[in-house]
């Protein structure tokens, strides 16, 4: 799938990460942060698009899902997410001092989504997928009833 586009995205993310390493978020004025949030959100949308296109290609048999593909996507999300903590802190700091920081809420949501994507263990997912293939599944109603009983017994 679009090797030149994934390389282009990879280059943009390298530049993005380097820029954040050079300039500390805590020194940015509100307008500067807003400008950078726009760039960050655009990059995140690009990662999502590449991710979806690659996944679609796998589903249609045009691309194999192997370690190289997985690592590449992990790398995109990881590079994008690396400076997110400092950016969120700066945005919250400015907001706590009365500034409206355009894009801050969207950025926080995107950062949570990126972290959530990186947080899923591929080994555990594979084990769970095997359980599903073997029919080791329990209905939702049964699980809810059990949780209710446990909650009642705790009083």
């Amino acid at each position: 799938m679009g090797g030149s586009t994934t390389q282009f995205l990879s280059d943009q993310l390298d530049s993005y990460t380097e820029s954040w390493q050079r300039d500390h978020a805590d020194a940015l004025a509100c307008w500067e942060l807003e400008a950078r949030l726009k760039i960050a959100l655009g990059l995140f949308q690009a990662i999502r698009l590449v991710d979806q296109e690659m996944s679609q290609a796998v589903a249609e048999g045009r691309l194999s899902w192997d370690a190289v593909t997985t690592e590449r996507l992990v790398g995109f999300y990881r590079s994008w997410e690396a400076p997110a903590g400092a950016i969120v802190r700066r945005a919250r700091d400015l907001r706590s001092r009365g500034f409206e920081v355009e894009g801050a809420v969207e950025f926080e949501r995107a950062a949570l989504e990126a972290k959530g994507t990186l947080n899923i263990s591929l080994d555990r997912l594979e084990q769970s997928a095997r359980q599903a293939r073997e029919g080791k599944l329990r209905p939702l109603g049964e699980i809810r009833d059990e949780l209710r009983r446990q909650s009642d017994s705790r009083g």
Binding site: L112, R124, L137, R138, I143
Partner: protein, 91 residues
């Protein structure tokens, strides 16, 4: 069309790790998802191209404290959503 929902033991372990209030909300959300999975879920993507994603924030009507990702697939007879993973990230 409404679907049944079932969880693998691994997904149940994910659920058991959540605080009770959040676990209960996740179960509610699975029931919501079961009513309209095509509209509510996103197409497969990383970390696994075979599973649909359903994502939402917690709490639902306040600034987000956590982001939840549910990974599932349709059963072969297309009557059940088989949940294989529940991922949570806190602020």
């Amino acid at each position: 069309m409404s679907y049944a929902v079932s969880l693998t033991p691994e997904a149940e372990r994910d659920l058991a790790r959540l605080p009770p209030m959040l676990a209960s909300h996740v179960l509610d959300q699975l029931e919501v998802l079961a009513k309209d999975p095509v509209r509510l879920s996103r197409p497969p993507s990383f970390p696994h191209p075979l599973y649909q994603k359903y994502q939402f924030f917690w709490p639902p009507d306040a600034p987000p404290e956590a982001h939840i990702t549910i990974l599932f697939r349709y059963s072969q007879d297309e009557t059940t959503l088989e949940v294989v993973g529940i991922g949570v990230v806190y602020h």
